[in-house]
Amino acid sequence: MIQFEKVTKRYPGGQEALQAIDFKMDAGEMAFLTGHSGAGKSTLLKLIALIELPTSGHVFINGRSTTTTPRWRIPLFRRQIGMVFQDHKLLYDRSVFNNVALPLIVASTPRQQIAKRVRAALDQVGLLHKENAMPMALSTGEQQRVGIARAVVRKPALLIADEPTGNLDPELSQEIMAIFTRFSEVGVTVLVASHDQSLISSLNRRLITLDQGRMVDPGIGANADTGVFTGDDGNG
């Protein structure tokens, strides 16, 4: 599903955000992307979503290299991926229903199908009763669930999330992670970036750990660095 081959990413004028990244995720797998703030988690997800291109190396999604994807194909490519963001990226002048419908509308989906699929997606995150609410009227946790409903409304085979629980308290974070786990159980490939070490370790999934743009051996990564991450949490 996802394959990184010697991927390096250097932002213009900056240092290397990612260096020599090599990893593979199979279809249906669920993994967490961890590391300090600034380790390169967001950058890695941006390479998957074709928001950025690798400086060298290749990112393959479904066997297709992102580097060779022509500009006009990028929207089609993104329609096959569900993305969840830390800041939700909702449209605050539209109802929950219209927010979730956006990925279908941009793909010219017929209206009858839109209503059906939006309600199915809202049902999956437990927000069916809020379809006419405005996002501002929802709690942060609910807003994030709207973001997830929007990400899955097109039933993507791949779901990526960048710190989806970043602004949530532990209980709500657990809820959100449970939703991702459920999608993984029905065959969706899920990659979630998070620096919340205690939350991740409780879920017992594969870890991809980054440290200053490099991959850390996943075997050691999880427990050995816990102390460091807690310290980071305090000042971040």
Binding site: L102, T140, G166
Partner: protein, 343 residues
């Protein structure tokens, strides 16, 4: 940091309540539209949506939109009004050209019979409406009466004036050249000494009108460019305002065409509404000026009245404005959306 923002968010619903009510109404309208369009295919339906949304977006900032529309309307009304002015001036000068009589001076010493022959010949010319013949004696009487030199002229042994014919040409619609032709033909006749016509100034007037018409055309092109710039700038500002929305739409797989669509419709609406405003402005102006003009014309014994936009001219004006709006927004959207992506 993480925790405070949660509280911040939970406070907002109360503050936002009035807005929510307003939007709720919008949502029910949208639902109605959705049920009406169930049979319409996806893409067409979305186009109609985009057009409707763009229009309703104009009403969210009614004052700014109205200002822009007025500026567009005025920019279009100016060259249109000037164009009408030139057209009307041509009509008037056409009337004047027709009103010009030709004075035909007959060679002195021409006999009465020859004069009668000549007048019959001229009268039968297809371009001639009628003529008045003044014999040399009659011409002298006329001149005496008009000049006041009666006593002085009595001392003359011989009549110095030639026989004269006042020739009235046919109504030659807007065609001063025909009058010139007639004059040349009459001049060529035997026993015609001199043909005088006073259309030279009419010609000069027409030449000047041609210059003015060119100026109006240039002004029209410049003002059309101004409309392009106004629409382009308005679209640029709207793109700035809707940056987040554009970014999010891109992230969920919106194509360039999809993202550009609402801005294109905004431009088209600006063109259409601005065009209609210009039609109203021109029509009102014609009505305001038309009354006095007719009165002046009446004083000069003419039934001339100011002509406004003819038959479907108003439609062409609006269509032209729509094209300007579409082109302006297309250029601006393509440019600024690309810029937004890289920047």
């Amino acid at each position: 940091m993480a925790r405070t923002s949660k509280h911040g968010a939970s406070l907002k619903p109360h503050a936002r309540n009035p807005i929510r009510k307003g939007v709720g109404r919008g949502a029910s309208v949208r639902k109605k539209a959705a049920s009406l369009n169930l049979s319409v295919g996806g893409l067409l339906g979305h186009h109609m949506d985009a057009a409707g949304n763009s229009l309703s977006r104009l009403t969210t900032q009614p004052f700014a939109a109205l200002m822009t529309l007025l500026v567009i309307g005025i920019a279009l009304a100016l060259p249109t009004g000037l164009h009408l002015l030139v057209q009307n001036a041509r009509l008037i000068s056409g009337e004047w050209a027709n009103a010009v009589d030709l004075s035909v001076y007959v060679t002195p010493g021409t006999s009465e019979e020859a004069l009668a022959d000549l007048s019959a010949q001229i009268e039968s010319h297809p371009l001639v409406d009628g003529l008045i013949v003044l014999t040399a004696a009659e011409a002298l009487e006329d001149f005496k009466a008009l000049s006041g030199f009666g006593a002085a002229l009595d001392t003359l042994e011989e009549n110095p004036l030639p026989a004269t014919m006042i020739v009235r040409p046919n109504a030659l619609d807007e065609n001063p050249e025909k009058v010139m032709e007639l004059a040349a033909e009459l001049q060529a006749l035997p026993r015609v000494d001199l043909v005088q016509l006073d259309t030279e100034w009419v010609e000069r007037f027409h030449a000047m009108l041609d210059v003015v018409r060119r100026v109006v055309m240039v002004a029209g092109i410049l003002l059309a460019l101004a409309v392009l710039v106004i629409v382009g700038n308005t679209i640029r500002m709207e793109i700035q305002q809707r940056r987040d929305e554009i970014e999010i739409t891109r992230l969920v797989g919106g194509s360039d065409a999809f993202i550009r669509r609402p801005f294109l419709y905004t431009g088209i609406w600006y063109g259409a509404l601005g065009g209609l405003i210009s039609v109203v402005l021109v029509t009102v102006a014609v009505h305001l000026v038309g009354g006095p003009v007719s009165r002046v014309a009446g004083l000069y014994g003419s039934d001339f009245s100011l002509r406004g936009l003819a038959d479907l001219q108003w439609l062409w004006l609006v269509l032209g404005a729509v094209v300007l709006g579409a082109v302006g927004s297309w250029v601006a959207a393509s440019r600024h959306l690309r810029h937004l992506e890289t920047g």
